[in-house]
């Protein structure tokens, strides 16, 4: 009978205690194993808000569990809340994971090939349930991640937290900033629209400016995957976006956060004496324990941010998709994403090797070594006047350069093209495409009719914009000086029913008499500019709102 010995402590427990008490004890034991140290009583005591018993069982998971061992057991009271760090590092991490999750979901319906990438985007936007929401959230999350990471860096700089012994933490942070910027930028190419192609073409051409020339040529080829962007280049940027950069990001995030935890969260400058570092010797009466206080706050930040992201993308924000990439046309007013505008501004004023390679190199290397240069022991604002002044000057210069990077600075085309570009821009949908298709009235309309009350609101609005831009162009001081104004300029907008459900809209500007009524929009005409757009009833540029 005892050939096979059968062990079952649980059955023994049932025998001795009865079914229900033994089962409850078993459940309790399972919970304690899953939480690496907290049983049901401990958890309920936390949820009730009881003070921690002594010895405190709530610190056990920090020693025994994988996930909690990465988090500090307690924070100093001064840094446990939203102020003074604004938890920007936490939010950066949040967006890193948010982007990873939404990105992986988008990968289900995306193939990195110029043949189908754009079609995949249309499918995601128009056909896949929640597809547009996922793309909007991924894009908005990317923009916010750049913003949050930059603010995180600025805040760390202002409060001087990068001073000894935290210099290396800052260094890895700059690497993470670069990873963030390139992650966001590499995502640009993937939809294979006009914005993608030309933003990334400029980026790769900057690599080409590296001296000596042979290095630049090879760097350019490596980035483009050929003499011009095509299937190879798209695949490279895709792999960089979904594999290489996230991998580098995860590794440096690990190093960065490890350093944060071993050095502790630095107190605000006024919170401790100069030269002291309280973070590793937090007095017992100044501690806010991770469980339950900090984790509750973090769950709250998580819930609110996720809710706001979803709400923003459902009601307000929609990621743009431009026309299909066209290697033969660079759209007017092409600009870099906002966080690279300062670079585009610099590139407009000078040499591409100096401003496109040397200067960014100096800026990012300079950022990495700041903590090793600013070695004064005090983090008080009053003791850091030079450093803080230089920091704010840098911010101001970046703001000015960013303005110079916009299309308003030094790239405006001839006044006739600029007028039409206000109605029918080449890098965004603009007033015409976003207008109500049903209200585009067939006919020939002059800008002077903008105040005609018998027209519907859409036509009044479009003609109003057209009229205003035309008058604005006529009174432009620069073109008056160069005597190139649209003298006697006249604007006409023709709307025709082209096919069933398709309207053809022609903007025609004439000046100095124009070519005459018998030659409308003929090629090579003088004193005339024409641009045509076709709009389908279902184009849905207004995006349903």
């Amino acid at each position: 009978m005892s050939l096979f010995k059968f062990h079952s402590p649980f059955l023994d427990d049932i025998k001795s205690k009865g079914v229900i008490p033994a089962s409850l004890a078993k459940v309790n034991e399972t919970v304690e194993r899953l939480t690496a140290g907290l049983d049901i009583q401990d958890i309920r005591s936390m949820l009730r808000g009881d003070p921690a018993p002594r010895p405190n069982p709530r610190v056990k998971p920090h020693a025994d569990s994988f996930w909690f061992h990465m988090r500090p057991t307690y924070y100093h009271n001064l840094v446990a809340g939203l102020y003074p760090s604004f938890r920007l590092g936490w939010f950066s991490t949040y967006f890193f994971f948010f982007e990873t999750i939404t990105g992986v979901i988008l990968m289900f319906y995306y193939t990195p090939s110029p043949l189908v990438a754009y079609e995949n985007m249309l499918n995601i936007l128009g056909n896949v349930p929640f597809g547009r929401l996922m793309r909007d959230m991924h894009k908005l999350g990317a923009e916010l991640m750049v913003l949050v990471v930059c603010l995180h860096m600025l805040r760390t700089f202002i409060t001087g937290n990068y001073k000894k012994p935290r210099q290396f933490t800052w260094f890895t942070g700059v690497v993470l900033l670069l990873v963030t910027l390139f992650l966001s930028f590499s995502g640009y190419l993937l939809p294979w629209d006009q914005l993608s192609l030309w933003a990334v073409t400029i980026g790769a051409s900057m690599a080409e400016a590296i001296q000596p020339e042979a290095v630049g040529v090879v760097a350019n080829l490596l980035l483009r995957g050929g003499p011009q962007f095509n299937a190879n280049g798209l695949l490279r940027w895709y792999l960089g976006h979904v594999l290489l950069l996230p991998l580098v990001g995860f590794i440096f995030l690990g190093v960065h956060y490890y350093k944060v935890v071993i050095h502790g969260h630095s107190l605000p400058p006024e919170g401790e004496a100069v030269g002291e570092d309280t973070a590793k010797r937090v007095p017992t009466d100044q501690r806010t324990y991770f469980m339950p206080d900090v984790i509750t706050r973090e769950l709250f930040y998580f819930s609110v941010t996720t809710f706001l992201m979803v709400a923003a993308c459902v009601f307000f924000y929609h990621a743009p998709l431009e026309p299909h990439a066209d290697p033969l046309v660079t759209p007017l007013h092409t600009t870099a994403p906002w966080y690279w505008l300062w670079l585009q501004g610099m590139l407009k004023v000078g040499d591409k090797f100096f401003f496109g390679v040397i200067m960014p190199g100096i800026i990012f290397n300079g950022l990495m070594v700041i903590p090793y240069l600013e070695v004064g022991p005090s983090r008080r604002y009053g003791d850091r006047r030079i450093g803080l002044t230089m920091g704010f000057i840098t911010c101001a210069v970046l703001a000015i350069l960013s303005y110079m990077g916009t299309a308003r600075y030094a790239v405006s085309s001839s006044p006739d093209q600029e007028v039409v570009a206000e109605l029918l821009p080449q890098v965004e949908p603009g007033p015409l495409r976003e207008s109500n298709w049903e209200e585009l009235t067939v006919g020939v309309w002059n800008t002077e009719q903008y105040s005609d009350a018998s027209l519907n609101p859409t036509m009044q609005h479009l003609l109003g914009v057209y009229h205003e831009e035309l008058e604005h162009a006529k009174s432009n001081p620069k073109c008056i000086r160069e005597n190139k104004c649209l003298t006697d300029g006249e604007g006409v907008m023709t709307i025709e029913n082209w096919q069933d459900g398709l309207k053809k809209i022609t903007f025609r500007l004439t000046w100095d008499g124009g070519p005459g009524t018998d030659r409308v929009c003929a090629p090579g005409a003088q004193h005339e500019f024409c641009q045509t757009a076709y709009l389908h009833r279902l184009s849905n540029y207004a995006q349903g709102e």
């Binding site: 400029i202 995957g225 003499p227 660079t330 004023v349 093209q417 190139k484 090579g524 500019f529």
Partner: protein
């Protein structure tokens, strides 16, 4: 140093060397190989495809070039004052095949008839029909492809040459020519042209 320590250093050095070799192999692997394809080949055009003088350029997308026919008006363009004193301020009449890519950062510059010049939509470089840079961040004139003008029998009458130090292609006279051969595999880069004070 003991023999053991020495052998460790030797081992470390050989590991570093093989890592460098692997890195080099990966780079070599990643450098794309490509055939020049259509672009990079020779395009043969009839002279009737050439636009009349002073009428602005004509685009040839497959060969990625603009064909310009510089006439009296083009060579005396008022904007040439921007480069006064520089060698290429003196312009030649004739035809040129301008490579369509902006020499700044690779965008496609476009022809703006109202301003009668090329303008780049990305960073605002400006060029005359002759390819001379007159503004913006570009640092040289436009690149050109070599054109050969041939008569009906195939004899080469004139050919694009470099004007200065192997740079800046000449405009060629095509009187009497019947055909043009534009070699998009042979590019002459524009002369350095960075005029202080011109934005």
């Amino acid at each position: 140093m003991t023999r053991r320590e020495f052998l460790y250093y030797l081992w470390a050095a050989s590991m570093a060397l093989s890592m460098a070799e692997i890195g080099g192999a990966i780079l070599w692997f990643a450098v794309p190989r490509f055939k020049p394809g259509e672009f990079g080949g020779v395009f043969e055009l009839d002279v009737t495809a050439v636009p009349p003088p002073d009428t602005g350029p004509k685009a040839f997308d497959a060969g990625r070039f603009w064909l310009v026919n510089l006439g009296d008006k083009d060579v005396t363009d008022a904007n040439l004052k921007e480069v006064a004193g520089l060698p290429y301020a003196e312009q030649q009449k004739g035809i040129k095949a301008l490579y369509k890519i902006c020499v700044h950062l690779g965008c496609l510059y476009k022809w703006v008839p109202t301003n009668y010049r090329f303008e780049c939509p990305c960073h605002g470089s400006k060029y005359l029909p002759s390819g001379v840079r007159i503004g913006g961040p570009a640092r040289r004139n436009l690149d050109v492809f070599v054109i050969e003008a041939m008569d009906a029998s195939g004899k080469v009458l004139s050919k694009t040459e470099a004007r200065f130090d192997g740079q800046d292609g000449t405009a060629i006279d095509i009187t009497g020519a019947a055909k043009l051969r534009i070699n998009t595999g042979q590019k002459i880069t524009g002369s350095p042209n960075s005029v202080p004070g011109v934005a």
